[in-house]
C-alpha cells in the first residue's frame, strides 16, 4: 500500500478516536469545562500535560532545528525540559492549593486587584494566540504535504477537529483526548527513531545509538565523529561544537525555562488533579513522558543529518528518490543547479551551495530518507497532527476561560448564571479557533520561531508575578502590576523591533548585551522581578486577609475547599 493510503487510514483512525472521546466526555458544568471537574488522576494528567506541552514545534520542528544547529540546539532541549523543574518545585503545588480555575484568577485574587486580573488576562490571551498560530501552521504543513490538500484546506481541517472536541468537552474532553494524543504521538516519534537507530548503529535504543559506532554499511566509526567529519568536509559548522555566543545560549535557555514555567496552558493542567500531592506527582509524570521524546530528539537529529548528507551530497539530481520531488513541490526543498552539472552540491558556502532544505521538514522527511516502510511514514503524520492539535486545544481553552471566566464572570458581568458562563466559554473558543486559523494561514515565520516568542512573553509576564506571589508575602498589587507591565512591554518591544520593524538590524552587533530576540525574555523576567520588588518596598503591604491566604498555601496538607 502507498504512503498516501496508509496516511488516510491512520489519520482517519486517530481522528475518530478523538471525536469518540469528545462525545463520551462532554462537559456539563463550568467546573468540568474549566478544570475537568478537578478529578483527573495524576498519571493521566501527566500524559495530558506532556501532550499539551509537546506541540508541533517539539514534534515536527525541534529535531530538525537541532540537526541544523548542532550543539547550539541544546537550548531547546534544556530550556523546554528544565522549566519543569521550576514548575514542579516553585509553582504547581502552591497553585493547586490555592485552588482556582485559571492563572488570571490567581493573579487577581492574590493581588486583590481587578487591574492585575485584566493585565493577566491580556498576557494570557496574547501568549496563547502567538502559540496557537504556530500549531495551526504546523497542522497545515502536514496536511498539505501528506494528504495533498492545499495549505489553507489543511488548516481548516485542523480547525474543525479542534473546534469539535474543545467546544463540546472543554477541559474534560481536552484532557482525555490529550491522553490519547500522547500515546499516538510518542509511538509515532519512537517507532521511526528505533528503526533508524537499528539500521545505522545496530542499537535499538536511540539514546544509546546516538553515541555508538555506525554499522559497516554506513562506513563505521562513531556517529558523532562521522557527522563532525562530514560537516567539516562540506564546510558546515562542526556538529558537536557551538557557534552562538555562550551568553546568548545562556539567555535563550533561561527564557525558555522561565517561559515553560509561566505558560498558562501548562499551569492550568495542574488545577485538574484532586489534590496537592497529585499536582506534584503529575509534574513528575509529565516530565518523564516528555523526556522520552526529548532525549530521543537529539539522536534523531544526528541520524537525520547524517542520512541527509549521505543521500544528497554529490548525488545526481535525476536519481533523487520520490520524497525529494514531493518536498520540492511544497517549496520546502529547493535545488538550484548553479554550475549545471546535474549533481547536487550541498555545502556550507552559500556561493556554491545548490540545495536548501527547510528545517521544519526533517522529522517528517526522515523516515522517507531512511527508506522506512510506508506505514511508518504515515504514522509520523498522525503523530505530528496529534502534537499540533493537542497543544492547540489546550491553548484555546486558556483563551476561552480567560474571556468567559476572568473577563466576564469575575470582572464585567458577575451576575451571569453558570449556564450563560458555559455558553460564553463555548462561543469564545469558537471565535478563538477562527482567529487562530486566520493567523495560521497568514503567519510569516517558522513554527518553532513563532513559538519561541510566546515563551519570552510568558517568562517576562507571569513567571515572576506567580513566584513572588507565593514566596514573597510582602509583594503587593502595585509591585506585581508594575513588574508585569515592564516585563511584558520590554520583551514585546524588543521582539517586535528586531522581527517586524527593523529586521535588517537583527544581528549580534545590534543586540542588547549580545542577547537575541529569542533570549530576551530572560532579561524581561529579571526586569519584572526587580521592578516588582522595588515598587513593593515603597507602597503599602497587602491586606491581612491576603497575607493569611499566602500563609495557608504554605502549610502542608490539602487545599482549602473552593
Amino acid at each position: 500500500m502507498s504512503v498516501q493510503i496508509w496516511t488516510y487510514i491512520f489519520v482517519a483512525l486517530s481522528f475518530s478516536l478523538y471525536i469518540g472521546i469528545a462525545i463520551w466526555s462532554r462537559a456539563g458544568s463550568t467546573k468540568e469545562f474549566y478544570v475537568a471537574g478537578g478529578g483527573v488522576p495524576p498519571l493521566a494528567n501527566g500524559m495530558a500535560t506532556a501532550a499539551d506541552w509537546m506541540s508541533a514545534a517539539s514534534f515536527i520542528s525541534m529535531a530538525g532545528l537541532i540537526s541544523f544547529l548542532g550543539r547550539d540546539g541544546t537550548f531547546y532541549l534544556m530550556g523546554w525540559t528544565g522549566g519543569y523543574v521550576l514548575l514542579a518545585l516553585l509553582l504547581a503545588p502552591y497553585l493547586r492549593k490555592f485552588g482556582k480555575f485559571t492563572v488570571p484568577d490567581f493573579i487577581g485574587d492574590r493581588y486583590y486587584s481587578q487591574t492585575a486580573r485584566l493585565i493577566a488576562v491580556f498576557c494570557a490571551i496574547s501568549v496563547s494566540f502567538v502559540y496557537v498560530c504556530g500549531q495551526m501552521q504546523g497542522a497545515g504543513i502536514v496536511f498539505s504535504r501528506f494528504l495533498e490538500v492545499d495549505f489553507t484546506t489543511g488548516v481548516l481541517i485542523g480547525m474543525a477537529i479542534v473546534f469539535f472536541y474543545a467546544v463540546l468537552g472543554g477541559m474534560k474532553g481536552i484532557t482525555y483526548t490529550q491522553v490519547a494524543q500522547y500515546c499516538v504521538l510518542i509511538f509515532a516519534f519512537m517507532v521511526p527513531a528505533i528503526f533508524i537507530s537499528i539500521m545505522m548503529t545496530g542499537q535499538a535504543v536511540p539514546q544509546i545509538g546516538f553515541g555508538s559506532e555506525l554499522t559497516e554499511a554506513y562506513g563505521g566509526g562513531y556517529l558523532l565523529d562521522r557527522l563532525d567529519g562530514l560537516s567539516e568536509q562540506l564546510g558546515f559548522a562542526t556538529y558537536t561544537e557551538g557557534q552562538r555566543s555562550t551568553q546568548d545560549v545562556f539567555f535563550i535557555t533561561a527564557a525558555l525555562m522561565f517561559g515553560t514555567a509561566g505558560l498558562p496552558h501548562v499551569i492550568i493542567r495542574f488545577f485538574t488533579v484532586p489534590n496537592v500531592r497529585d499536582a506534584r506527582k503529575s509534574a513528575g509524570y509529565a516530565l518523564v513522558f516528555i523526556a522520552i521524546l526529548y532525549t530521543t530528539a537529539p539522536a534523531v537529529a544526528a541520524f537525520a543529518r547524517t542520512n541527509l548528507i549521505n543521500t544528497v551530497s554529490n548525488a545526481e539530481y535525476s536519481a533523487m528518490p520520490e520524497w525529494f520531488s514531493k518536498w520540492e513541490d511544497t517549496g520546502l526543498i529547493t535545488f538550484d543547479d548553479k554550475n549545471n552539472d546535474g549533481i547536487i552540491q550541498y555545502v556550507g558556502d552559500p556561493e556554491i551551495n545548490e540545495l536548501n532544505v527547510n528545517r521544519d521538514i526533517m522529522v517528517l522527511a526522515n523516515p522517507e530518507i531512511a527508506e522506512l516502510p510506508a506505514w511508518v511514514v504515515a504514522l509520523v503524520v498522525a503523530g505530528a497532527l496529534a502534537a499540533a492539535l493537542s497543544t492547540a486545544a489546550g491553548l484555546l481553552l486558556v483563551i476561552s476561560t480567560s474571556v468567559a471566566h476572568d473577563m466576564l464572570k469575575r470582572t464585567f458581568m458577575p451576575n451571569i448564571s453558570e449556564r450563560q458562563e458555559l455558553a460564553c466559554a463555548r462561543i469564545s473558543i469558537f471565535i478563538a479557533v477562527l482567529v487562530a486559523g486566520y493567523y495560521g494561514i497568514n503567519a510569516p515565520a517558522y513554527v518553532a520561531q513563532v513559538v519561541a516568542f510566546a515563551f519570552g512573553l510568558a517568562a517576562a509576564s507571569f513567571f515572576p508575578a506567580i513566584v513572588l506571589g507565593i514566596f514573597q508575602k510582602r509583594m503587593n498589587k502595585e509591585g506585581a502590576i508594575a513588574g508585569m507591565l515592564v516585563g511584558f512591554t520590554f520583551t514585546a518591544a524588543y521582539i517586535i523591533y528586531f522581527k517586524i520593524i527593523n529586521p535588517a538590524a537583527d544581528s549580534a552587533d545590534n543586540w542588547l548585551l549580545g542577547i537575541s530576540p529569542e533570549g530576551i525574555g530572560s532579561l524581561g523576567t529579571v526586569a519584572n522581578l526587580l521592578v516588582a520588588l522595588a515598587v513593593a518596598r515603597f507602597t503599602p503591604e497587602p491586606p491581612a486577609d491576603v497575607q493569611e491566604i499566602i500563609e495557608n498555601i504554605r502549610l502542608p496538607g490539602e487545599a482549602i475547599p473552593r
Binding site: R71, L77, M78, G211, Y222, T246, T253, G284, T295, P556
Partner: protein
Amino acid sequence: MSDSSANSYWKANIRLVLSLLFVWFFISFGCGILFVDALDTVRFGGFKLGFWIAQQGSIFVFVALILIYIRAMDKLDAKYTLDSSSESDGASQEGS
C-alpha cells in the same frame, strides 16, 4: 498546626527547594553551557562529555530532581501532619 511548626515546615521546604535548584542550575547552565567546552575534552563512548550533558544528561537529571522532590515532600508532609495531629487534640485543625 502551630505557628512554629508551620514555620519550620516552610523553612525545611525552602531548604529542599533551594538545594535542588542549585543542582538544576549547576547541571544545566553550568555543565551544559558555561563549562561545556572544558568538559568536551573528556570522552566516553562516542560522546564528548559536555555535549552529552547538554543534549541528554541534563534531562535525566531534571527528571531525577523532580522525583526526589516528590518523595522528600511526601515525607515532610507526613512528618508535619503527624506532629500537628498529635498536638491538636484540643487545638484547632486549621490548615490540615
